[in-house]
Amino acid sequence: MMTQAETSTNTETFEPTIIVFACNWCSYAGADLAGVSRLKYPSNVRIVRVMCSGRVDPAFVMKAFLKGADGVMVAGCHPGDCHYLEGNLRAKERIDKMVEAMHILGFEVDRFRLEWISASEGKRFAQIMTEFTEQIRNLGPLKS
């Protein structure tokens, strides 16, 4: 079976696969709001709902890349808004270290982003997704 990344490189314009880990209480709700407000954002984005951005282990992100994602994002509540108090701060701490580790490994870190998106920011959600998809599209497929 071809992975998503392979199938998409066959088409003329490159359609990246983007995995977004979104926390249930803010960013996922933000995505919902974007949906009910009928805002458009690229269909390249696949959202994985997690209870809190603090649930995202660096292993998830690296595995997403290994399994064919061209870009990965972790989205959580704004600092101070996390429903588990400081899950997002811990996520940031862990993920900053992961980014440093990726540097050590010699991996382009511009394929990864950490964003804070609240439940009321449907518009911002759509904007960020569009922008990130564009960014990854310009970078081209991860595995050629």
């Binding site: 282990d57 660096p58 292993a59 998830f60 690296m62 595995k63 890349f65 290994l66 270290k97 992961m98 440093e100 580790a101 540097h103 050590i104 490994l105 010699g106 991996f107 991860l142 595995k143």
Partner: protein, 377 residues
């Protein structure tokens, strides 16, 4: 293979004739089980596993993954049954469930990531005098990644590499800091031969192309892998202990009296028969060594191997090691290790502190001890 999401598979289906033939000489004396460090704290029973394997009884995933491949059983076995190698080969044939690795399997994922996502070796950032043209190279190993993924507050892994470079500089040598990928030891011992072969090929090429004549490493696993698993004819591999021992007259030791105890890492000790160099180096710094009750070829493993199964048994083994070390040198003493992994595991359990334990002993890596206790002449 290792990163797939196979469901937990209790019984091992594959039993191969080839592996059975390795075990047939066993006469079930149970010497192996009686020394096995895992046996101390669980029902793990190498003798019984051999029996079950030979007679087609049930052998479980647990049987294949709980072994530390420390080689202590081989040391005492009258029939010289290579049980760790049997375990390694069965892991290779059967695969290892990714869920059984510690730290969400991050170190395995890292190994595969290193192979598939990047074309370069690891990028290091160390201070000191380095020289790309030097015939002596130093490779710190994957310690910088431990800093990023192990949540330890008081333990610096980067310091292992920094200390080694400091010491090498103090002997008047400017090493070439070699940018390799991880040595592949863990992939090899958990049977992920694809990852191992890939990384060995890459590293061999970089080492050969760099034109170096000596490669110095800090980690016992790197040393064992480069010496025993790789084929690096013409390049001398030195553990940092060998390097320091060879050049100790170039160093000025502060000679401050101190007592240390020393833990022989299985990859340096039982696997490579290097017992004296680390001790000589520690003694040269002016330290007196109080031996652990079980030492040299009878040393018990630190408790985890290849990031597989860090569980309550592992913790019990580590705590026991700290207890033995405390008995040898007292609460304020230091346990010296010559392996980045031993350093990681023992410091990890040390940082847990209460309510688990109250040990105050320090665990330090050999290069760090020498760096602290020396200056250049």
């Amino acid at each position: 293979m290792v990163i797939s999401e196979s469901p937990i598979n209790y019984e091992v289906e594959i039993k191969s004739e080839e592996l059975k033939s390795m075990l047939r000489a066993c006469y079930q004396c149970s010497s192996c089980t009686s020394v096995c460090p895992v046996r101390r704290y669980s029902k793990y029973n190498p003798r019984k596993i051999i029996h079950n394997y030979l007679f087609d009884y049930e052998v479980t995933e647990d049987d294949l993954t709980a072994c530390l491949t420390c080689g202590l059983c081989l040391e005492v076995c009258p029939q010289k049954i290579d049980f760790p190698e049997f375990i390694r080969l069965s892991r290779e044939q059967h695969g290892v469930n990714a869920d059984l690795f510690a730290h969400h399997n991050i170190f395995n994922i890292m190994q595969v990531f290193m192979n598939e996502m990047t074309d370069s070796g690891m990028k290091f950032d160390y201070e000191g005098e380095l020289d790309r043209e030097s015939s002596i190279a130093y490779f710190p190993g994957c310690i910088d990644l431990y800093d990023k993924f192990l949540d330890l507050k008081e333990t610096s892994f980067h310091q292992i590499g920094q200390s080694a470079i400091n010491v090498i500089n103090k002997t008047g040598v400017k090493p070439n800091l070699l940018s390799l990928k991880c040595c592949g030891h863990d992939a090899y011992w958990t049977g992920d031969m694809d990852a191992y072969d890939q990384v060995r090929e890459y590293n061999t090429k970089v080492i050969k192309d760099s034109g170096i004549s000596t490669l110095v490493v800090s980690c016992a696993e790197c040393y064992y892998s480069f010496m025993d698993l790789y084929n690096l004819d013409g390049v001398k591999i030195q553990h940092i202990a060998h390097f320091i021992e060879e050049r100790q007259e170039k160093l000025q030791f502060n000679g401050e009296a101190t007592t240390l105890t020393y833990h022989d890492p299985c990859r340096l000790g039982r696997f490579m028969n290097e017992y004296e160099s680390p001790r000589n180096v520690l003694k040269a710094t002016g330290a007196s060594i109080k031996e652990l009750s079980l030492n040299k070829q009878f040393t018990k493993c630190c408790g985890v191997s290849a990031w597989l199964r860090c569980d309550d048994t592992s913790r019990a083994i580590m705590l026991r090691k700290l207890q033995e070390a405390t008995q040898a040198v007292g609460e304020e003493g230091t346990l010296g290790v010559a392996c980045s992994k031993c350093y990681a595991h023992l410091n990890c359990v040390l940082e847990d502190k209460k309510p688990q334990h109250d040990f105050k002993i320090k665990v330090k890596e050999l290069g760090m001890i020498v760096d602290e206790r020396s200056s250049s002449k």
